[in-house]
Amino acid sequence: MTAAGRQRATALAASLGAAAGGLLVMLGVVAAFGYDARDVARAFGVAVAGSWDRFAAVLLVACPLIVIGLALTLAFRCGVWNIGAEGQYLLGALGAAVAARLLARGPGVLVLSAVLAAGLAGGAVWAGVAAVLKRYRGVQEVLSTILLNFVAIQIAAIIVRGWLVDAHSADRDTTAEISAAATLSILYAPAGLHAGIVIAIGLAPLLWVFLERTTWGFRTRAVGLNPIAAGLARIPVGRFGVGTFVMSGALAGLAGAIELSGNTHYLTASYASGYGYTAIAVALLARLEPLGVIPAAIFFAALETGVRGLQKSPDPALAGFPTVLTQVAQGVVILATVMLTRTRLGGAGRAR
């Protein structure tokens, strides 16, 4: 095996080990809570892969995680620590809702394209704020993006309650459903799985091609791994930082638009989902490899779906099962990923 191949194999083993470790620790915690771990494991397995319907439901959750995971992979590969995917996702959804409302009538393809483009734009603008703050005021993006998440939540709530509100809704805090022309088609009705999953899965190899085969991707990686050497090679490091940041935000926004258009069909004043945070774990577990994002997203989607399934399980022994265990597992997986291998997180340049 070549050295590079060996490196890839170790990385894969580390990710698998982290995922398995997360599951095991979750089961251990479950046992400590007084549940029978074997029952839980069986019920969990049924909930995520017991039937095509169940697996399609996992894919439905994986869809936004894949797209946002790719957005973050792009940013992290350029050394941009975008923690604000949640806000970018939200403003993408908001942009999409606005476009859907303005273009209620029109040829389907055009409306749908406009809705998705508005999602890209919404996320791009929001990431752009943090990018400009970083470039011109030196504000660390780890801080600004996470704070902008809260601002985004409020902006979305104000607009949903105000301009976009559906006057017929009970609490006046949801929008009307988007028109049929603005929705993504459903691929598998029993689980509500929509065409967004095709877009999501298709984006992964596209991002890989971008990073590995184009000059832009080459520069993006060089800037992320050693900005000093990249600058001395006359790559405009600052501009790449801003550009990649905005592209990352646009992708996260696209995830919001896809979710609105394919799954929820309307916004609520409290639309924030936490996908933007879970996707950080997705990107890390995937070790910033675009193709790894798909299985990593499915893994985290299965965790979430599985625990929700446990709660609804007819087995009386599992009644009142705590959802917080998803977060325990998530935390363990992230820690294990970072521990088992030195990720590139924060390791731009070299350790000396």
């Binding site: 085969r213 050693n226 001395l232 340049g349």
Partner: protein
């Protein structure tokens, strides 16, 4: 008597110290003098327990010392003031002095902290202002705090690592007064420096290191700074086979500040001890001319270690039509180019698709040299291009630089290694405190090494 005998230390294949024996007497200031890379700092790190020698003995008053960690050295009464201060800027002077001491109880009241600091100051005769924050202090005052931190213990041996590098002349005087007072109390002071005038002024005995070997240990009384320079730099004869360049008169670099012009076909060497403005000079040249650049710190400035050999080979040229078309990388051409560099410049490693970080330092440097020289550059800036390389790799890099010169490139060689400069240079300028001064012209085609050495140390030629 603190004695080092037959100390040898290697890093990989590079020998940092070979068979060095020095005895340090109490009540005297003993200078250890040498150029950058001569082994001074390695020797002191061994003496302070930060490094272990591969072979050799350290004895104190006839008893063998095992120095595995700094705590061992401290127990033996050895204290060290590092070149780079280790202070907490946001804390007060008194807090910094007490920092790291075992507290006598669970609580450490401010008054007790202050008291202990003042007590230490009184005992050592070093004046301090205990309540000021370190961030408000001048460099000289900070150094005094460092000194006090060390001297509050019973210290019989004090190591000062390049203590004057960052001080103003007045601060240097104050430091020297403190050093003399310590000597008067029987302390043994080891003074590491490459500044000849200061070594003459403060020390009683001097040991000179060159390339990891001890050249001599002598009483300072008989030695002038010029004598010291000669010992530090050595008797060097430029090799007779050196082929002078044929400067063609056509300039490839005209720098205004500092003034520097380089013509095709010549190697202009900038000699100087590190930290005299070389970095600024390099940046000025790079930003004006974007030359082929063999960077001083290859891992930081030249290579992207996690990227593979092929990607690093085209780092600076990836936009050229040969390697990219309409935004797409041309993988076959890139691979062929990388293979060519690897072959021509003898870069040994696991292949062009493996990370550059997996190559040895010498092979990384050969890759950088290969990449930079592959484009037939007209101007080359090489900063310490052979630092850390073994003999074979050094000769290889030298050969390539001379070959590039003979093909018509103008070469700026910035180096702290006088041997390298004498070997390659067609003209020599000395950089000291940011200023460039031409070295005296040679009559017989051989540069006057001791004159250059004196200029590097800030003395008149």
């Amino acid at each position: 008597m603190l004695s080092l005998s037959k100390i040898t230390k290697r890093f990989g294949s590079a020998v940092a110290l070979e068979d060095v024996s020095i005895a340090f007497e109490p009540g005297s200031v003993h200078a250890v003098l040498g150029e950058n890379g001569a082994g001074k700092t390695t020797l002191m790190r061994i003496l302070f327990g930060l490094l272990q020698p591969d072979s050799g003995l350290i004895t104190l008053n006839g008893l063998r010392l095992e120095l595995r960690r700094p705590a061992d050295a401290q127990r033996a009464g050895i204290g060290m003031v590092h070149q780079h201060f280790k202070l907490v800027e946001q804390m007060t002077v008194a807090e910094n002095i007490v920092l790291g001491e075992r507290a006598s109880g669970r609580w450490l009241p401010r008054s007790a902290v202050r008291q202990r600091a003042l007590e230490a100051a009184r005992r050592t005769g070093l004046e301090i202002e205990p309540d000021r924050r370190v961030e408000e202090l001048s460099v000289g005052q900070r150094q005094r705090v460092e000194l006090l931190k060390v001297l509050q213990h019973e210290v019989s041996t004090l190591i000062l690592d390049e203590p004057t590098a960052v001080l103003t002349p007045a601060e240097v005087e104050q430091l020297f007064a403190a050093v003399r007072a310590l000597r008067g109390r029987g302390c043994r002071i080891i003074f590491i420096s490459h500044k000849l005038a200061e070594v003459s002024a403060i020390s009683d005995v001097v040991s000179v290191l060159r390339r990891g070997r001890l050249i001599c240990t002598e009483a300072i009384g008989k030695l002038s700074p010029a004598d010291l320079a000669e010992r530090m730099v050595g008797e060097r004869l430029a090799p007779s086979e050196r082929q002078p360049g044929r400067a063609s008169g056509e300039p490839v670099l005209e720098l205004r500040e500092p003034p520097l012009s380089v013509r095709r076909g010549e190697v202009v060497a900038i000699a100087g001890v590190d930290g005299n403005g070389q970095q600024e000079l390099t940046r000025a040249i790079v930003e004006q001319a974007w030359p082929a650049h063999i960077a001083d710190d290859r891992q930081r400035e030249a290579l992207v270690l996690p990227m593979n050999v092929a990607e690093n080979a085209i780092l600076k040229r990836h936009e050229e039509a040969e390697f990219s078309r309409c935004g797409w990388l041309r993988r076959a051409a890139i691979g062929a180019f990388a293979e060519r560099i690897v072959r021509e410049f003898d870069v040994r490693g696991p292949g062009i698709r493996s990370a550059v970080g997996a190559l040895s330092g010498g092979n990384q440097q050969k890759l950088v040299v290969g990449r930079e020289l592959s484009g037939k550059p007209t101007l080359i800036v090489a900063a310490n291009p052979t630092r850390g390389l073994d003999v074979a790799a050094t000769q290889f890099v030298h050969g390539r630089l001379l070959a590039a010169r003979d093909e018509g490139a103008g070469v700026v060689l910035i180096s702290a290694d006088l041997d390298e400069i004498l070997l390659l240079a067609d003209r020599v300028l000395v950089i000291y405190a940011g200023r460039l001064t031409p070295a005296p012209p040679d009559l017989s085609g051989v540069f006057d090494a001791s004159a250059i050495g004196r200029m590097m140390a800030g003395l008149a030629a």
